[in-house]
């Protein structure tokens, strides 16, 4: 273990990127990336509030009628029945407000490894955007550049119009970040964990207790709020972390593998809380995951990332419809099929180096 190996720890992309003839996929992705959800009229969303699928913003150039239809059928959410959807999510940004996140030509190199390779990405305000890919695809590196944890060596990243490289403090004030590891402090109670984040986000003393209370209530942790976090189950810790992120009223919630290592019931619960909070506050959610089924179910739009590059981008419905057309058969493809298709043959198990696997296992053990 030399020092030189360290920095690329969570990058672990691959040395041989591009040998699999994936160039086509990459080009395709870049084309789509331009037409994000920015032109999305907010009126349409509120009016058709009864239809869950209609919340899916459709890319201006990609929204052919068939694709849009497919979206409606494909991207229904089981978590919420139409009746429960509020007519107008609060704080829905006005049309013309800046995109939540814009990545232009973002590249990141660890040593000789191109962890992130010219990524173009646009996350519209108010949407749930999924960044998908296997271990070592570069998702975490992209997230870390957006959260100002890593510098932006080439390209540009803006969060609600603020440059992540130059206005780090302004960007951080807009973010609620939940890292991949279980990052709640086990030696503190749930309430103390949330209060710490209220403090470091400058919540005033007279508001603090009430805010913490609401954040805990939003994730259903009021009853266990005064127990030490180390006694929580994995799903509860994730919800606690969600409360920690929510207490500062972020405009962008960034979740790095929020359901990793959780059992299916806890996964659903975590997602339902994310979804409910999103609907109540109208905040933008950017999530990375390698569970394609979750992305299909909960994300408005997804980007499929493989070996540092975006291989496809669109609503889950669009991507599936697109693959169905190209395959020209009647079987209903899943998002995983789409992923296999765009990633080409390079989906061996070479992704994820020792440290990332170890860290994932450790997280899984802790949530056990």
């Amino acid at each position: 273990m030399s020092d030189e190996e360290r920095p690329r720890a969570d990058a672990n992309a691959d040395v041989g990127a591009g040998v699999n003839g994936n160039a086509g996929g990459g080009a395709n992705a870049n084309e789509n990336a331009g037409g994000g959800a920015n032109g999305n009229p907010t009126g349409a969303e509120t009016e058709a509030g009864a239809d869950p699928g209609s919340l899916t913003p459709t890319g201006a150039d990609a929204a052919t009628p068939t694709a849009a239809d497919a979206t409606r059928t494909g991207a229904t959410r089981t978590g919420a029945t139409p009746a429960e959807r509020p007519a107008t999510p609060a704080e829905r940004p006005a049309p013309g407000s800046p995109d939540a996140v814009v990545c232009a030509g973002l590249s990141y190199v660890f040593g000789e490894t191109r962890a992130v390779d010219r990524v173009d990405l646009r996350v519209g305000a108010g949407e749930v955007f999924g960044l998908l890919g296997p271990n070592g695809a570069g998702k975490t590196t992209v997230i870390r550049c957006m959260t100002t944890l890593l510098p932006v060596p080439s390209g540009k990243v803006t969060v609600f119009g603020h440059d992540a490289a130059k206005e780090a403090m302004a960007v951080r004030r807009l973010l609620g970040y939940v890292p991949q590891q279980l990052s709640a402090d086990g030696g503190l109670t749930g309430r103390e964990n949330v209060t710490l984040f209220a403090r470091v986000f400058d919540v005033s003393r007279k508001e603090r207790a009430a805010r913490v209370q609401q954040a805990l209530e939003a994730v259903d942790l009021l009853e266990s709020a005064d127990r030490l976090a180390k006694t929580y189950s994995g799903g509860m810790v994730r919800r606690l972390e969600l409360a920690q992120a929510l207490v500062s009223a972020p405009r962008l919630l960034m979740l790095d593998e929020p359901t990793i290592g959780l059992d299916p019931i806890a996964r659903t619960s975590v997602w339902e809380h994310i979804d409910a909070v999103r609907r109540a506050t109208g905040m933008t959610v950017l999530v990375t995951t390698h569970y394609m089924d979750e992305a299909d179910q909960y994300c408005d739009r997804v980007a499929l990332m493989h070996r540092g590059r975006i291989r496809a981008l669109g609503t889950p419905g669009e991507l599936k419809a697109d693959l169905r057309e190209r395959r020209a058969d009647d079987s209903e493809p899943t998002l995983e099929d789409v992923f296999r298709d765009v990633a080409g043959s390079g989906l061996g198990d070479e992704g994820g180096d020792f440290r990332s696997v170890r860290s994932t296992r450790r997280t899984a053990t802790r949530v056990g």
């Binding site: 273990m1 020092d3 920095p7 919420a80 429960e84 959807r85 509020p86 007519a87 107008t88 609060a90 704080e91 870390r144 959260t147 944890l149 890593l150 403090m169 951080r172 004030r173 807009l174 970040y177 939940v178 890292p179 991949q180 590891q181 279980l182 990052s183 402090d185 030696g187 503190l188 109670t189 710490l196 984040f197 209220a198 403090r199 470091v200 986000f201 400058d202 919540v203 005033s204 508001e207 009430a210 609401q214 209530e217 939003a218 259903d220 030490l228 920690q244 929510l246 500062s248 009223a249 972020p250 405009r251 809380h273 409910a276 909070v277 609907r279 109540a280 506050t281 860290s359 450790r362």
Partner: protein
């Protein structure tokens, strides 16, 4: 549970009937940012509070950490008081030793604080703190003060132990306040030293090794156990550049009333703490990757 209010409040944007979220109004407005010097002060307070809360929940560390200083005072101190091997003008050796042991046990806590920052990094706690509106220097200052708080509690334990063993210490509140400040500044320096090393070596195992390797030399190359005058020349030089010596000197002057260079001591400790904070904050970025 899913029953919505019969008449939805008209026109209120934040009225939400979404299950399970009932009341979220406060979570819709971002807090007003603090600015200027208030930021590091607030962060330091927040981190200190975390240390105190943790100690309240689990006091084991407080007890186990008291064992070593107790042994130093009881065995080493009592023995060397009897054999008069070390010349300590005017005061019994045990009295002379007590401030040294306070400084030493505070230093041990601070040196191993760097391990905690590596643990926090592996657990994602540090990552999350780095994404809050906390400048790196403020984060390190907070951690340094948190280490100081822990050390002060440790110091109280040693002072009580020393008092039980019959060491005649001052109870002048102003002087005790000075002791608190000296211990906090000293711990801030040593915790920053170990956080800087953490930023260089990046793994817990290596830091453990280095921590073990430097604590004893720092301790022995200081005036904690014996006066500088009895040291060989080269050790005197090491003792002069060792901030622990200044901490011990200040503690002795305040607690025992012996002759001390308080102005110089506090000056050196302050400069050392500031230098440590600067070094550790500039290396913190390495832990963020």
């Amino acid at each position: 549970m899913s029953e919505a209010p019969a008449a939805p409040r008209p026109g209120s944007a934040d009225a939400t009937t979404a299950r399970p979220v009932d009341q979220l109004d406060l979570l819709l407005t971002p807090p007003t940012p603090r600015s200027g010097w208030r930021v590091p002060a607030a962060r330091a307070w927040a981190m200190c509070l975390v240390e105190l809360q943790k100690l309240r929940h689990d006091r084991t560390e407080l007890y186990t950490r008291a064992v070593q200083p107790a042994l130093w005072l009881l065995i080493f101190g009592e023995t060397f008081t009897r054999i008069h091997a070390i010349p300590t003008p005017g005061v019994p050796y045990l009295d002379y030793l007590a401030p040294g042991i306070i400084a030493q046990s505070a230093m041990f806590i601070a040196i191993f604080y760097g391990i905690m920052i590596i643990w926090e990094r592996d657990a994602g706690v540090l990552t999350k703190l780095l994404v809050t509106p906390t400048p790196r220097a403020a984060l390190i200052t907070g951690k340094a003060f948190a280490a100081g708080v822990k050390s002060v509690i440790q110091a109280v334990v040693v002072v009580v132990l020393a008092a039980i063993l019959g060491v005649s210490l001052t109870w002048n509140p102003l002087k005790l306040l000075g002791v608190v400040v000296a211990v906090i500044l000293g711990s801030a320096f040593f915790s920053c030293l170990s956080m800087s090393i953490a930023g260089i070596v990046l793994t817990r195992d290596r830091l453990m090794g280095i921590g073990q390797a430097i604590t004893m030399p720092l301790f022995f190359a200081s005036n904690a156990l014996y006066p500088v005058a009895v040291m060989p020349g080269w050790l005197q030089v090491l003792s002069r550049i060792n901030p622990l010596s200044y901490e011990v000197d200040a503690l002795r002057g305040l607690l025992l009333g012996t002759h001390a260079h308080l102005l110089l001591d506090f000056g050196v400790l302050l400069v050392a703490a500031l230098a440590g904070i600067t070094a550790a904050s500039s290396l913190l970025g390495r832990l963020a990757r």
